[in-house]
Amino acid sequence: MKKQIIKKVNARISLRMIDLKAADDRELKEISSVMGLALSLDEMKALKGHFSTMPTDVELQTFGQTWSEHCIHKTFKGDISTEKGTIKNIFKNFIAKATKEMNKPWCFSVFEDNAGLVDFDKGYVIAAKVETHNHPSAVEPFGGAATGTGGVIRDILGVWGEPIACSDVLCFGPLDTDYKDLIGGVKHPKYIYKGVIAGIGAYGNNMGLPTVNGAILFDKSYTGNVVVYCGCYGMLPKDLYINKTQEGDLAVLAGGKTGRDGIHGVTFASADLSEEADEQRSAVQIPNPLVEERLRRATLRLRDSRLCTGITDLGGGGISCATGEMAYRSGLGLGVNLSVVHLKEKDLAPWEIWVSESQERMLYSISPDRLEDAMEIFKEEEVEACILGRFNKTGKLTVIIQNVIVCDLDLNFLYSPPTVMRFASLVETQIKKCDLPEPNNLEDELLTLLADPNIRSREGVIRTYDHEVRACTAIKPLQGSESGPNDAAVLKPLKDSWMGIVISCGINPFLQDPYWMAASSIDEAVRNNVAVGGRRIAILDNFVWGNPEHKDRMSSLLRAVQACYDFAVALDVPFISGKDSLYNESPLGPVRPTLLITGIGMIPDIRRAITAELRREGNPIFLLGTTKEELSGSAYLRSKSAEGGDCPTVDGVLSKSTMDALTLAIDKGLVASCHDLSDGGLGIAASEMVISSKVGMHIDLTKVHSQTRRSDFVLFSESNSRFLVEVEEKGAKEFAGIFKGLPACIIGETTKENALSFEDLKGKNYGVNATQLRLTWRGY
């Protein structure tokens, strides 16, 4: 590059100016790359056209942050060119549209803030948010995962919520991956697995938050791209919610010091992981939960004393994004003085202070007459705070440092990035037929599946996460004395109310058709919620995809988003918050399209919550839903290294009716225990119920309402919208009545012996005792 394009103008504060006007296209690209802006040529050209004078590095960095995929979600808000014409803004026209059409009165705030808010009891609202922290975890697993947890906790604080629980869903490469298969800076899955789990545990436990729900998946496509979803849930009295920053209010920055850690985290996250990713270790933030714990106390005291007018957390883009967003959403301007920021080290360049993503920081707007009281709280809670600047009416973001103006931007322009264009095809995925020979011994198949890395017990991980702290976990991730699985967590957050929050998740990346993959994830999240007694469910979407600039990735994204609209509406579950993480590609290739759906339901009385623990012998076992020959991507086929077959579909109307009927049956006290059918189908669901219990179960496969003639398919089909329900004997008739006209039939009963027995379609009998099931599933 011609040297004179980037000019040092102030050595004392290390400020540079960039002569965009003098740069040609090649040089514009080079500027973006050298400065780590991750902006496209079109975006650089837009900037070249905008600035009449030379912009400073601080200004250009502001655009790099604000216009990043991570911050502004340009793919979801951009145009998509398909063979059937251009589709605009898939976020607005699919995800948000579903919520808008349902127009639920109990949705208090959706897609507005750091987190979605829905009504709860006694004037409280629930705040929910799920984030991803994939790239940082791939480079530095412990720090990446810990700061992912820390970040999502601050999202809850950022809507004035008191965090009450966390969840995490993790996708790793197979732990037995051969080192020979690792290339180009990719770390071994075992190293990543250990670091990520330790990181999540360390942060959540330290913060005193129970980790109550989650999942762990293993697949080759995650070897180069670990996926770390961190969720946090919180509570706040509705009348304490405030976000009305006024002219004249002060912008107060509080929490940890600002340093060189986490510089360019968002631009790092908005590009593929390269072989040199390790050299960007400085893009990963350093966790310090102690600072966040103090920040939480201070934030909640500020809330309860009504001392602030607005709040936002510092995440991607650091001070630059937080200040810009707060000023822009209030229709104001802001003058920032960077000289007052508490630094971890000297000699940070202004742009580094401006974009650093150092952790555990929050930004508040406070009226000057409340400042003294607020500062007293910070002092008592031992939180460092500084007055960054004052909100004004200019509509501009102005930054000074040591009396030099280093940034002067029009916020309207900053928040109007050029629309991006992506390309996709609407062709449906074709899946070939499956020709798998029928096995001789179903017991062997069942035990193989029970020990499958994607199905076996997660106890070893769950026990390293505190799931009891705060003493409000009613239904836990490990059920009863045998540590069995549960479909969802139930929390009782208020002292004087029996109402509970139900947290569940659904994730099905192994399904090859992206449309039905998304539909299945929604159905699974909702049915997990319904299985324990949840209802009035809101959902959160988290997309983890490869590089959207490739047509095939974009096509699958488009199909998944279409399913999101269709099935959110069909199951009557509005989206309240979401996040997308694209560019999950490494030298080993892209991730499987992975959509996590998180369900937030409520239960009027937690004492009515249902678990998977069988209650007593002699109760009939009902199977709800239809079992089809849907095995594409199933755990069974994968265990046989087989492919093809039909993809599990969802009949929205039938699914909704089944779940509504189940909720009614639970409320009438007819349900003794219940478990949803997911990975491994009927065979695994039945085994897991026996594992959790002191009694056993016998089932007859000939009685299953199915559309297949093969016993192994009946046992392991992964058709959606199905539940296995133990019904109290005296209520069996009433239960059957509730399900009149719906697919529901008695397929067996609970037995005295603690074992699972079943008869296949040919009349062959099998029996496995619980001791062996447990040994296989959980390893002891």
Partner: protein, 265 residues
């Protein structure tokens, strides 16, 4: 003392996080409770309180060693007040991180009188080297202390633990003999069928010597325990509800005993 005149104080510092649930259960039993940050506590008179609770959490991030930093702060800011408090026979309860703090300040096992500042025991890393969250079975070893008034010696309790540093160890065999002789071992880990845990995981979740889960000072008015009784207070907090949901869990008796003691005091 009338319960309406009595008050408990739950102390906290940065990193403490089990204070709210302790207030919840104490107030459920009718004992008014203040949660005070150390910065607030030093401005108040501890003499106004009948019970002091050091709750669980990760005080000061548990950097250095669990409870170490907070214990030094207490020694410099609250030593005298704490000594008087204990001397008067008032109740001090340390749970989890609170237990670690009481050991670090030298109150437990201690000589039973002074806040020595010199630890004679330690809550070391779990043998598994992992954080562990699980429900454990405990045996009551002493029913003479104020915290166990409603319990019987030999009774079994089910209460959860959640810690990475809970392995109670002493400096010598003699110290253990002394502790047992003085009836200072109050809670021990056992198996679900009430047999001795004998140091074996998971019944003894951390490898504590002599399966020790909780101890008291010689007088019995200061107790520290690794399990969290506040998480086993209500029946709905239990890991399995069985055929009929119980109203309360085993943790309730410990707080209720303390409250009863205050009423008589």
């Amino acid at each position: 003392m009338k319960l309406c005149d009595a008050k408990a104080c739950v102390l906290r510092v940065g990193g403490t996080n089990c204070d709210a649930e302790i207030k919840w259960v104490l107030e459920d039993l009718g004992l008014s409770t203040d949660i005070l940050h150390m910065n607030q506590a030093i401005k108040k008179d501890l003499a106004d309180y009948q019970m002091l609770v050091f709750p669980g959490g990760f005080s000061y991030g548990d950097y250095v060693r669990a409870g170490a930093i907070w214990s030094r702060e207490i020694l410099t800011k609250l030593k005298k007040d704490l000594e008087i408090f204990i001397d008067e026979g008032k109740l001090v309860l340390g749970i989890c991180n609170g237990f670690q703090v009481l050991v670090e300040i030298g109150i437990l096992p201690g000589d039973g009188e002074n806040v020595s500042g010199i630890p004679t025991a330690v809550l070391a890393n779990n043998i598994s080297a992992k954080y562990e969250c699980r429900w454990v079975n405990l045996k009551v070893e002493s029913d003479r202390i104020p915290f166990f008034g409603l319990l019987k010696k030999g009774q079994a309790l089910q209460i959860p633990i959640g810690h990475g540093e809970g392995r109670f160890i002493l400096q010598s065999e003699d110290a253990l003999t002394e502790l047992i002789k003085n009836n200072q071992v109050v809670l021990r880990y056992i198996s679900p069928d009430c047999a001795a845990a004998e140091g074996k995981y998971p019944n003894n979740p951390n490898g504590a010597v002599y399966d020790i889960a909780g101890i008291c000072n010689r007088k019995g008015n200061v107790m520290g325990m690794m399990p969290h009784p506040e998480r086993a207070y209500f029946g709905w907090q239990l890991p399995s509800w069985g055929k009929e949901l119980p109203k309360f869990g085993d943790g309730k008796a410990i707080f209720e005993s303390a409250v009863n003691y205050i009423k008589k005091y």
